[in-house]
């Protein structure tokens, strides 16, 4: 690989101060550090450093997302094939091919448009390109339905990167999770394509649509049947919901794949198990109380926790969105509280608020805003304890 390094060394003066392409230095730097771990030597403090860096850190999240992405591609193809002509053969390579045709343009569009914004800001601000975008650029497509028009993907990711992140100063400074900000923007700006009640399947040739309801919509419906029977009847039982062969956003449908991602994130020490467990506990308790209070077992309030877990974006949000290290609470105690409240709010929005079938996205964004406040309280208590110790 010596010759590539030599080529970079040769091109370097062009991009450095005074060079012709000085403005594009962040691009050069990003390319170079993408290919080569820098030779930079430790200058102060520790003489040796852990070999992790933010690239590896973020790349680990992408690895954790792979099961969701691959299954999402398969599922998009499967839904397409079963949707346009029931009875068609749905062997794995056909599903993957048809799915890739629909999913990959969305992923590529998200990375390309978001990447351009990232570059523009790094040139203007003269900082290095941040790797956080690698994650945002993949998280965002995975929370979109495969039917989303590409121009909406472009507008959405632009909003997410610029308003969700760059206006705050870039990765590490943002208050909200950029991918969720982008999705929330689409959700409210173009409800017809993303939040209507019959839009989650693949559109055939852009005009004729075959659509299907999501589990949460089915659960919210009222037809006199017990809610559990209604949901499991419509989607082939709890196990099918868990596996994820149902209509829905690209990466969100399979709870199993999210679980695989969670195991990877926790085992590597990248994702916070405290936040994840907090969300689970919060949602479980809320569900339990609602179930107890609900007399009418046909209403969504009677839907048990295990169904909430496998429907909508709950598992995906729990594993990948709530644990975002930048926008979550940063103290350990804070993570428990932050997670618990996300779980609580997600279930409350799902069940008690008829306007939004899906509560996870809003719950996380809401708690993003409160995360600094939670930390503030945790830190204040700690400081008060220390002050008391001084007086003692």
């Amino acid at each position: 690989m010596r010759f590539i390094q030599d080529a970079f060394d040769k091109a370097r003066p062009l991009f450095e101060k005074g060079g012709k392409l000085e403005l594009l230095y962040p691009l050069f730097e990003a390319k170079e550090t993408f290919l080569f771990v820098s030779r930079e030597r430790t200058a102060s403090g520790c003489h040796v450093r852990d070999s992790i860096d933010s690239k590896r850190y973020m790349a680990s999240v992408i690895v954790a997302l792979m099961p969701c992405l691959l299954f999402g591609i398969y599922n998009a193809g499967y839904q397409y094939l079963t949707g346009i002509a029931p009875g068609q053969p749905t062997d794995i390579h056909r599903c993957l091919w048809e799915g890739a045709l629909r999913v990959m343009p969305i992923v590529i569009c998200s990375y390309a448009v978001g990447g351009i914004w990232e570059l523009v800001f790094s040139v203007v601000r003269k900082h290095e390109i941040n790797e956080g975008f690698l994650v945002t650029g993949l998280l965002f497509p995975l929370v979109l339905p495969p039917t989303i028009p590409l121009w909406q993907v472009a507008v959405g990711i632009s909003f997410g990167v610029v308003i969700g992140k760059e206006v705050f100063g870039g990765t590490g400074m943002n208050i909200f999770n950029p991918a969720l900000t982008a999705r929330a923007f689409l959700f409210f700006a173009y409800p017809a394509q993303i939040s209507g009640d019959q839009v989650w399947r693949v559109v055939k040739d852009g005009v004729d649509g075959v659509s299907g309801a999501t589990p949460l919509l089915v659960a919210a419906a009222q037809d006199g049947v017990q809610v559990v029977d209604r949901v499991s009847g419509a989607f082939g039982g709890w196990s099918n919901l868990f596996l994820g062969l149902i209509p829905g956003s690209i990466g969100e449908t399979s709870t199993l794949c999210c679980l695989l991602g969670a195991v990877y994130l926790v085992a590597t020490g990248i994702g916070s198990w405290r936040t994840m467990l907090g969300v689970l506990i919060g949602a479980f308790i809320t569900c339990f109380l609602l179930n107890q209070a609900c007399k009418d077992n046909t209403a969504i309030n009677a839907l048990p926790f295990c169904y909430h877990l496998v429907s909508g974006g709950f598992a995906f949000g729990l594993v990948f969105m709530a644990t975002d290290p930048v926008s979550a609470a940063q103290s350990n105690t804070g993570k428990w509280i932050y997670g618990f409240l996300i779980g609580f709010l997600a279930i409350v929005i799902r069940t008690l608020n008829p306007a939004f079938p899906e509560g996870m996205m809003l719950a996380i964004l809401f708690m993003n805003a409160f995360a600094p406040l939670i930390d503030y309280f945790v830190i204040s208590r700690h400081m008060a304890w220390r002050m008391k110790r001084v007086e003692a």
Partner: protein, 455 residues
């Protein structure tokens, strides 16, 4: 005796252990006294080139306190006073003394070891300050050199080597047990409270430590930084405020202190271990305070670009091949400098990478030690939270928030989050593991100095 089992921490998997065999280093023909060792002091020079001095002759004193002198470790001639001009001022960097080989010393009143407990604390203090050996102590909060105007609440000693490749204190104390105990006895007279000695909680503890009298013994076990004295203070009797001053001293410092009172002279002998993969002869060498690095490595180094560190790889100082061993350091570490870059390093499975995060393969494999170099391993980014800091600091604290409060110089938060309890040493592992490559130690030191100057 209290036992503490610390869970948080991390042992850096670095190769290059030294063999605990004590041999004589090269004879020191020159010794260097460097104000940079004495944090918190502005020096005012008392000698000139060519002056002849004895071991114990003052070389410079603190600008704000003339009684606080810093003395020569050996007898000879002042051969070089080096400084550097910064702005309109000249800053003293070092006073070098060329040995005359006679080893003469300023005489203080010798006291038999048994008589030390009977001495008055004023008498001991006077000798300590006059001989300049007060500098063997360092203070908390702030991690400055101990000041003559302060009387410590307690004195803490760590007899645990948890730092990467650090020498075994049991070997350092061997043959000096009597002086070690004399040092403890003297410390007990110098403090209002107690002397606290921390010993390893696992394995056998040498009798000099386990049988030490006139002090409280505490057992600590766990990964690094369990052996760092600041961590131990936090668990034994924490520093609560700016006025709550405690002193710390090293095991070899205690021995030198004991010798000062028993022999009645400044005794600079100490052992320095040589470690790190770039050093070829890795043993323990007898030498003196302020000795040149070359006296212990004696040219036995690998043929590569080397970083010469006085101290351990986490907190030591880059002194260069011609440098001098720091006063408080009992080891030098030689590691290769980073000279190559690695192709798509961040994408590799990493069978041979050292990382606390288990994103690479190596942390899943049986423990292996690595030949570490000085690579930073990544770009500097905004400080984003990960659980990492908390995982390596066994103190009831919020290290991430403390670092942030230092960055924005918010005094209330710094104090509230416990800045008085830390120095660079305790926070060094946070810097080691930081994925954003934040210079934590520098930030903490700047925070401490800012706070010190404010009031």
């Amino acid at each position: 005796m209290a036992r503490f089992t610390l869970k948080q921490g991390y042992d850096v998997p670095i190769a290059g252990d030294s063999n605990p065999e004590v041999v004589d280093g090269a004879l020191a023909t020159v010794a260097s006294v460097r104000p940079a060792d004495f944090i918190g002091i502005k020096p005012r020079l008392l000698v000139r080139d060519g002056d002849s001095v004895l071991a114990g002759t003052p070389l410079f004193h603190a600008k704000d306190d003339e009684s606080q002198v810093f003395t020569s470790p050996i007898s000879g001639t002042v051969s070089e006073v080096s400084g550097v001009v910064r702005g309109d001022r000249r800053v003293l960097l070092a006073v070098n003394i060329e040995s005359d080989g006679k080893n003469e010393a300023v005489s203080f009143e010798p006291t038999s070891a048994a008589a030390i407990p009977g001495k008055s604390s004023e008498q001991l203090r006077e000798t300590l300050v006059k001989s300049g050996q007060l500098a063997l102590f360092r203070e908390r909060p702030f991690g400055h050199v101990a000041r003559a105007k302060h009387t410590p609440r307690d004195i803490f000693v760590s007899a645990i080597a948890s730092a990467p490749l650090a020498p075994d204190p049991a070997v350092l104390v061997e043959g000096n047990e009597e002086y070690f105990q004399a040092g403890i006895d003297a410390c007990a007279k110098l403090t209002l409270g107690a002397v606290h000695l921390s010993v390893p909680g696992t394995g056998s503890v040498c009798s000099a430590f386990s049988g030490a009298k006139n002090c409280q013994i505490h057992e600590f076990s766990g990964p690094h930084p369990a052996g760092v004295v600041g961590v131990q203070i936090h668990h034994i009797a924490p520093v609560r405020s700016r006025q709550d001053i405690v002193w710390t001293i090293t095991v070899q410092g205690l021995i030198q202190l004991g010798k000062l009172f028993v022999l009645g002279r400044v005794s600079p002998e100490k052992i320095v271990s040589v470690a790190g993969t770039s050093a070829l002869d890795r043993r323990y060498f007898r030498t003196i305070n302020g000795a040149p690095l070359q006296n212990v490595i004696r040219g036995q180094v690998a043929d590569e670009t080397i970083r010469y560190i006085s101290g351990d790889v986490l907190t030591g100082t880059d002194i260069g091949a011609e440098g001098f061993v720091g006063l408080y350091d009992d080891m030098v570490t030689l590691i290769p400098e980073s000279i190559d870059s690695e192709f798509v390093g961040w994408m590799q499975p990493g069978f041979r990478k050292h990382s606390m995060f288990r994103t690479y393969v190596s942390p899943w494999l049986p423990k292996q030690k690595h030949r570490l170099d000085t690579k930073v391993w990544g770009g500097h980014r905004a400080l984003f939270a990960s659980d990492a800091y908390g995982k390596v600091l066994p103190m009831k604290m919020f290290p991430l928030f403390l670092v942030k409060s230092c960055m924005i110089q918010d005094i209330d938060e710094m104090v509230g989050l416990g800045i008085y309890e830390v120095t660079e040493e305790e926070m060094a592992l946070c810097e080691y593991v930081c994925p954003s490559k934040t210079p934590v130690q520098k930030i903490i030191r700047e925070g401490l100095e800012f706070l010190y100057a404010e009031a």
